[in-house]
Symmetry: C2
Subunit: 211 residues, 2 copies
DNA sequence: GTCTATAGATTGATAGAC
DNA sequence: GTCTATCAATCTATAGAC
C-alpha cells in the first residue's frame, strides 16, 4: 500500500500545500495532518520548514531547468550548424513549452507550476533568493540567446521584453484557473498545454516587433 | 507635526507592509510597531485584520479604476465620433499607463502597485475574491473594447491575449526591482513610467498579430 | 480615542521514550 | 524512524481602565 517513502510522501503533500497556499500560510501541522505523518518525522527528515520548501522546490525545478536547457542547446546547435541566427520563437519555446506542458507530463506534480510562478514574489527572503539563485544561470543563457536571435534590438530592449514574456507565462500558470468569471463566448482550454501556441504567437510578435 | 489622522496613518503603514510582505506575513504587531500606534487603536478603527486590508486596497484601487475607466471611455468616444473601431494600443494604454505611472503620480503610495500585482495569487480567499470583485466590471469592459478593436480575433483569442498583457504588466510592477542580477549592458529605467512605451510596443504587437 | 493587559489559539522546533 | 509531550514564541482579538 504505502509504496512511497515517508520522505517522498511528505514532499508530495508539502508541494501541494505550498503551491496552493504559499509558504507562510502553510503550517507544519496542516502538512502533517494532510500527509498523515507525524510532526517529529518532518523535522527528522528535513530539519526545518525552510529546508523543507528548499527540498520541495529543488526536487522539480532542477529537473525542469535541465529539460529547458537541453532544448535550448538543441536550438542553438541547429542555428550553429546552418550558420544562421537562432529563431526567436524556438528560443522562447525551449523555455515555455516544458513549463506549460509540465502538468500534463507530470500529473502527480500538477500543482508545482503554481509554486514557481509565485516564487519571485514570495515574502520570505530565503525562499525568493533560493529560487533566483537556481534560475540565474539559465536566465542569462536565455537572455544571451535572444540577443543573438534579435540583433536589431539593444540589450536593454531584449532584457525587458524577456521579462514581459516571463510575466505572461507566469500569469497563465497561476491565474488561469483561479479566475471564475468568464465572458460569454470564451472557451477554456482543457489544459495549459493548449496555451503554448497562443502564448508563443503573442510573445514572438512582441519580441520581433521593430523597436 | 502629526497632521494625518491616526486612521490614515495606519492605512499608510499597512499598505507598505502588506505590499512588501504580503497579507499573512504581516502581523498586526509589526504594523503597530512601525506605525507607532497601539494595537487596540487598529481594532477600534478597522475591526479586524481582514477589514483593514480591505480598506487598504479599496482606498487606492477604486480611485485607480475610475481613472482607467475614464481614459477608456475617452478612447471609445473618439472612435465612436469618427465611426471607426477603437485603436488597440489606445485601449491597452488606458489601463496600463495609469498603473505604471502610479508610483510617480502618488509617491506616498509607491508600494501600492506591488500589492495589487500580487492580489490575484494571494493565499487568503477573502482578499483574492475582494480584489476580483472590484476588478470584474472594468475587466469586462476592457475585454469587450478589445473585441471591438480586433474583429479578426475570436473572443477566446482576445481573452487569453488580454491575460498575457495583464501578466506582463503585473510582472513588471512587482518583479522589476526585486531582481538583483542584471546582465552587462542592460540599463534600468529610472521609474516604471519609462516602461509604459516599451510594454505597449510589445503587447500591441502581440495583440494585433494575425491569429 | 487611545492605552494596558491578557485571553485563547496556533506556530516552529525539540527532547526523549519506544 | 516514528511517536508523544511540551516549550517558548507569536498570533488575532477583546475587555476594561483612563
Amino acid at each position: 500500500m504505502n509504496r512511497k517513502s515517508t520522505k517522498e510522501h511528505i514532499l508530495d503533500n508539502a508541494e501541494k500545500l505550498f503551491a496552493r497556499n504559499g509558504y507562510h500560510s502553510t503550517s507544519m501541522r496542516m502538512l502533517t495532518r494532510k500527509a498523515g505523518v507525524n510532526l517529529g518525522a518532518v523535522n527528522y527528515h528535513f530539519g526545518s520548514k525552510k529546508d523543507l520548501i528548499r527540498s520541495v522546490i529543488e526536487r522539480r525545478l532542477i529537473v525542469l531547468n535541465k529539460k529547458r536547457e537541453e532544448l535550448l542547446d538543441q536550438v542553438l546547435a541547429r542555428a550553429n550548424q546552418s550558420n544562421s541566427r537562432p529563431c526567436p520563437r524556438e528560443v522562447l519555446k525551449s523555455f515555455i513549452a516544458p513549463t506549460l506542458e509540465f502538468r500534463d507530463r507530470f500529473p502527480q506534480a500538477a500543482e508545482f507550476p503554481k509554486l514557481i510562478s509565485r516564487a519571485l514574489t514570495e515574502p520570505d527572503d530565503m525562499v525568493r533568493n533560493m529560487f533566483i539563485e537556481i534560475m540565474t544561470p539559465l536566465f542569462h543563457k536565455l537572455f544571451e540567446s535572444l540577443c543573438l536571435a534579435l540583433p536589431v534590438l539593444s540589450r536593454t530592449q531584449v532584457y525587458w521584453r524577456l521579462h514581459f514574456c516571463l510575466g505572461s507565462m507566469s500569469h497563465v500558470m497561476n491565474v488561469a484557473e483561479r479566475i471564475r468569471i468568464i465572458p460569454e463566448g470564451v472557451e477554456m482550454p482543457a489544459s495549459q498545454s493548449q496555451l503554448v501556441e497562443p502564448l508563443l504567437n503573442f510573445i514572438t510578435a512582441g519580441m520581433e516587433r521593430n523597436p
